[in-house]
């Protein structure tokens, strides 16, 4: 069922969105037809979730209008969206851990007075019905706390089903699900479509999109670049459209020889997260680690750094077997880790920038426990000028800097520690193009100075430009080890797209 | 310019000190001086110190104080004296540090409190049976003196040989705690005939327990209480009689004495006497102490309505 005869149930016109001055959606026009399953595709950060959230009233657009059945609507908050018949299944399942499953299902759907009665009996009955429909065996009376991510996702899906909405947006609903659960979800999605409802399906898994969707819209860098019938596009077309930005040319420097093995990981396994991971990184080498979101790359990095050590397998550092049970051990071995979520795991928001920069080298600035303020300041100033961090003063709280400059400060922090091995998890996420280029230079210089670098990135051009070798993970397994030259957008994507035989993450992910 | 007199109570919101204050106020009105009442929010030993310091700065002429501690105030009292202020302790003294103040005004000779209370209790229970004491805090100095005197009287006076003191408990001057302690006394000593509560909070709590259990004929409650708090219990027969003195007169006497000393008409020396309207002749006893009355006043159905405090 494609466009033409029927009129769209929901149209977006000129939707734009800025976060703190950064434009993440630009002038998006999109029509959703009744009775279609419409895929949204695009790289990480392309703006899919942001668009979904605008439609569902979580964010308000900076520009543009939404029209529902021909009428302009102001979806000011999620409740209004619900009333208008728009439901969003969030990428991260929303749960209220202390409420029962049944209540999580009903919360936000009920209308009425504050003192209106909670219909426990009916609620429980309905919830059981929905769970049966989805074929999951979850006791609806138990609290959400302790449910696996997959089960939480199923509850989210059940919630959307129960809502009777005309438009249901599913933001990567299948990421944590097993193939069987995915199949059930698809059956239900098709049935809903046949009832005339509209489903928006966001996923990175092309084969799922092919199996389920009628039309696809592709986002790139906040722009809608194409909307086509799924049959009209080949996989290659889709990938080209998704990643086809003009890659900023970065000159791959090859200063130093690649030396001996600095980091060797063998058969690293952590139940439910990653399995049998083996690779090595040599001195002076930049090894990329690619894959789709949720492939388990961060978990591998965390295991190497001792945040959440692996269950089995070994890590060797400079040829010696290493026992890494906590970050302190890893730091002691000369490993540095730049985490992906800057705000949560990286910065000390309320502290001055200089203290943030020197945070990883307490022994250097405070040899006997006493801080040498002059030295600290000098080191911070040096890092600021070397990395061209833009700030008013090194005493400025880091929380006031822009995201890119925060990220530079964190990188500076680890450079001060003079690590021999650097693990960078999405170091350029949320950073503007200009700064990115600086980063690439810096990373190249680091390798040129003989450091071993493991670079986790979801941006293919970045991996291709920087890396001597690219590892690819899919569903917790290493699926490719591509030398520079062999690695291309196509080969990486091929290895990254799950084949459905990976680790069954559901249930175990939270076990 | 009128003389400035302040009275510093133990704590605010305590009806007992309100009554002393009324005596101060009325005397100042009739004699023409400027009066102010001050008190800390809690009866903490140190909480009066900043108040006294501020009064020294303010340049008052007379400080009357009911001290929260016998020795925490030494320095600041010395400073007040050095600044030429006449310092009187009222209702309680800085025992052991008498040299820090000019004189003390006590309602009654406190050595009489214990025996008077025992006698009153005895008269209510026919001088025989088990009795208990419900006091304030374990450290309350006045109460401890009285309790010691009660025990002494019971032991040494043959008149009370059939009365047996079975327990002394402490309600910390909190209604809740006093109530549970009273309840526990009743549970632990089923033959209890009477309870002496030499503290205003304790006697009210004890009376309330007796009232709510309807056992006023079996367990007699007496002690030291305020007429305003005990009026109901006297009227409904829960409590036959209790004792106290007139806090009002303490304030009244303090002002007359202070103004007399300052204008030279009263000599502050042991053995001296002077006249005070309504109170008659007052004698300055040992340690420069004086009393407003000779014996405790007994309150019962016949006179409870004559007292407004």
């Amino acid at each position: 069922m494609t466009a033409g005869t029927t009129s769209p149930v929901l149209s977006a016109r000129g939707i734009g969105k800025q976060f703190a001055g950064v434009e993440v959606l630009r002038d998006v026009d999109l029509d959703l037809m009744p009775g279609e399953i419409h895929a949204l595709l695009g790289e990480n950060g392309a703006g899919k979730s942001t668009f979904a959230k605008i439609v569902a009233g979580v964010h308000r657009p900076s520009r543009g209008v939404l029209t529902l059945n021909g009428q302009v609507v102001d979806v000011a908050n999620p409740i209004i969206a619900q009333r208008l018949g728009i439901t969003l299944i969030h990428q991260e399942p929303i749960s209220f851990p202390d409420l029962s499953v049944a209540e999580n299902l009903i919360l936000g759907r009920q209308d009425g007075a504050a003192l209106g009665a909670v219909p426990w009996r009916q609620m429980t009955r309905d919830a059981q019905g929905l769970m049966a429909l989805l074929g999951v065996a979850i006791d609806v009376g138990r609290p959400m706390r302790g449910l696996s991510i997959a089960d939480q996702q199923m509850v989210e899906i059940a919630r959307a089903l129960a809502s009777d909405s005309r438009v249901i947006i599913m933001d990567e609903p299948t990421a944590p699900l097993t193939p069987k659960e995915v199949a059930t979800l698809f059956t239900i999605a098709r049935r809903l479509r046949d009832e005339g409802r509209t489903i928006v399906f966001i996923s990175h898994r092309l084969e799922e999109v092919r199996a389920l969707c009628d039309r696809v819209t592709i986002f790139r860098d906040g722009n809608r670049v194409a909307t086509e019938g799924i049959a009209d596009l080949t996989d290659a077309d889709i990938i080209r459209l998704m990643i086809g930005r003009p890659v900023k040319e970065y000159m791959h420097k090859r200063g130093t020889e690649i030396g001996e093995v600095a980091l060797r990981v063998s058969n690293l396994t952590r139940a439910g997260l990653f399995h049998d991971i083996s690779f090595e990184v040599r001195k002076g080498e930049i090894v990329g680690l690619g894959g789709l979101v949720g492939a388990g790359r961060t978990d591998v990095a965390q295991a190497i750094f001792g945040i959440a050590p692996a269950d089995s397998g070994t890590i060797e550092v400079h040829g010696k077997r290493a026992q890494i049970a906590s970050p302190v051990d890893a730091i002691g071995l000369g490993i540095a880790f730049v985490p992906e979520d800057r705000a949560v795991a990286g910065i000390f928001r309320s502290l001055p920038t200089d203290q943030n920069i020197t945070a990883a080298v307490p022994r250097k600035i405070a040899p006997f426990g006493m801080i040498k303020a002059g030295l600290e300041r000098a080191m911070a100033l040096d890092a600021v000028s070397r990395l061209r961090i833009r700030l008013a003063s090194v005493r400025q709280p880091i929380g006031e800097l822009s995201g890119g400059n925060q990220q530079k400060a964190i990188l500076a922090r680890w450079l001060l520690a003079d690590p021999s091995i650097l693990v960078l998890d999405e170091p350029t996420r949320g950073i503007d193009i200009g700064v990115k280029a600086e980063f690439y230079d810096m990373i190249g210089d680091l390798a040129a100075n003989g450091r071993a670098i493991l670079l986790i990135s979801s941006e293919l051009p970045e991996l291709l430009a920087l890396c001597d070798r690219v590892l690819v993970m899919a569903e917790g397994r290493l699926t490719a080890n591509l030398a520079r030259g062999v690695a291309s957008q196509e080969t990486i994507m091929q290895a990254a797209v799950p084949k459905g035989d990976g680790l069954a993450r559901s249930g175990k992910a939270a076990a | 310019e009128p003389l400035k007199i302040v009275y510093i109570g133990k704590n605010t919101g305590n009806p007992y000190f309100d009554s002393i204050t009324a005596g101060f106020e009325d005397a100042c009105k009739s004699l023409g001086c400027e009066f102010q009442f001050l008190a800390p929010a809690t009866a903490e030993a140190t909480s009066q110190i900043p108040i006294i310091e501020a009064q020294i700065q303010r340049g008052v002429d007379v400080i009357g104080i009911s001290p929260n501690s016998a020795d925490a105030l030494n320095q600041v009292l010395d400073a007040a004296k050095a600044a030429g202020i006449l310092v009187l302790t009222v209702n309680g003294d800085v025992v052991g540090n008498e040299s820090r103040r000019a004189a003390t005004i006590l309602p009654v000779d406190f050595t009489k409190t214990g025996p008077n209370q025992v006698e009153l209790m005895g008269s209510m229970i026919g001088y025989s049976g088990e009795i208990a004491i419900l006091s304030a805090t374990t450290e309350a100095p006045d109460q401890n003196v009285w309790i010691a005197a009660m025990a002494d009287t019971l032991k040494n006076d043959a008149k009370y040989k059939d009365m047996k003191l079975v327990a002394t408990v402490y309600g910390d001057d909190q209604p809740e705690k006093s109530t549970t302690e009273m309840e526990a006394l009743l549970a632990n000593y089923p033959d209890l005939k009477g309870v002496i509560a030499p503290t205003t909070v304790g006697i009210a709590a004890a009376a309330q327990v007796v009232q709510s259990r309807g056992i006023a004929d079996k367990v007699k409650v007496t002690g030291l209480g305020l007429p305003s708090e005990m009026r109901d219990f006297i009227k409904d027969g829960t409590v036959e009689a209790f004792q106290l003195w007139s806090p009002y007169n303490e304030g009244w006497l303090a002002v007359h004495f202070a103004l007399g000393v300052l204008d030279g008409s009263v000599k502050n020396e042991v053995g001296g006497t002077f006249e005070v309207p309504n109170l008659g002749t007052i004698t300055i006893n040992e340690n420069n102490s004086m009393n407003t009355q000779a014996e405790l006043t007994k309150f019962d159905k016949t006179n409870i309505d004559d007292f407004s405090f």
């Binding site: 999620p78 969030h90 | 549970t180 632990n188």
Partner: protein, 329 residues
């Protein structure tokens, strides 16, 4: 039996077992502890704390805390007390309206500071703890409302009984508990309190008004403090500007926390809270009976709180072990 009920029962059964064990051991030493009479004593000890605990439970469920309840109790009791004293012609039950209404207003003020200025509740209510107490002093000119001014009908509510010889005041406090149970379990807003405390970030995504829920819990906490205030006047027959209600917050928070309500929001039940209140009541009643000086009570209180918490935590750690991933992304 569902997992949910399982944990619930374990937690509350734990307190119930503690209560039974405690009472039996005290009874072994002092048989009079196991009489109806001492049940009456215990029940008469708890009404005010019970009422305060219901309000505090709601506040904690929403991930806040209300330290000002003792001062609100004092101020609302004083307001009614002054009405009784200076307007004796007013029909006495109006005192309930005055105290409860004023309490609700004071609670709303707390809630408004918390929501409008986004200040932490612990600090806001620490401030109003002082502020409300000071207002009580100013309003009353630091004068106690004596027994003679408190209407006899009000006072007799703590003595006379509608049925079974159990005084009115106890019925009222258990009535409040039952109402609270209905409120949190069977009204939409009640469930929203749990949701907010459980996940404050996600709550608005489900259409829960954080402002509204926060105002409601603080207003209820204030109103219930007001109810406790007028009942204080009933129970003790006087209102004192400095003593009335002081320290109430600590007793109440102790009871609520022992009852299994989490300071981190979202977790807690009315039944648990009632049991927590009763456990503290048993302890308070038993100590003097055992001849333990009232002063030791503090230490035992403290120990009971810590013990109950550790047990709770151990139970909870087991529960959590199942659902935790490294908390680091």
């Amino acid at each position: 039996m569902t997992g949910w009920r399982h944990i619930l029962l374990r937690r509350e059964a734990g307190i119930a077992v503690m209560i039974v064990l405690f009472c039996l051991s005290v009874g072994a030493v002092k048989p009079q502890f196991l009489t109806l009479d001492s049940l009456r004593i215990i029940l008469l000890l708890v009404p005010l704390i019970m009422i305060g605990a219901m309000g505090q439970m709601l506040v904690l469920l929403a991930r806040h805390v209300d330290l000002s309840i003792g001062s609100m109790l004092g101020l609302t009791a004083m307001a009614s007390g002054m009405m009784f004293r200076y307007m004796p012609e007013v029909w006495w039950p109006v005192g309930f309206l005055v105290s409860v209404g004023l309490g609700a207003v004071l609670g709303l003020f707390n809630g408004a500071l918390v929501t409008v200025f986004r200040l932490p509740a612990i600090i806001v209510t620490l401030g109003t703890l002082n502020l409300y107490r000071g207002l009580t002093f100013i309003m009353s000119d630091a004068k106690q409302i004596d027994r003679q001014y408190v209407p006899s009908a009000l006072k007799s509510m703590s003595v006379t009984s509608p049925i079974f010889g159990i005084p009115w005041i106890i019925f009222i406090s258990f009535g409040v508990a039952i109402l609270t149970y209905w409120f949190v379990m069977h009204t939409r807003i009640g469930r929203q309190i749990y949701a907010l405390g459980s996940n404050p970030v996600a709550a608005p995504l489900r259409g829960i008004s954080v402002t509204k829920v926060t105002l409601v819990v603080f207003a209820i906490s204030g109103a219930l403090s007001g109810l406790a205030g007028i009942l204080y006047a009933s129970r003790w027959g006087f209102v004192n500007p400095s003593n009335t209600g002081s320290g109430f917050e600590l007793q109440v928070i102790a009871a609520v926390v022992i009852g299994g309500v989490s300071i981190n929001g979202g977790v807690g039940t009315v039944a648990g809270t009632v049991l927590g209140v009763v456990l503290l009541g048993c302890v308070s009643a038993a100590l003097p009976l055992l001849g333990i000086p009232g002063t030791t009570q503090s230490a035992i209180y403290g120990a009971v709180i810590l013990l109950a918490l550790m047990i709770d935590r151990l139970v909870r750690m087991q529960g959590m072990a199942r659902s935790t991933r490294a908390a680091v992304p």
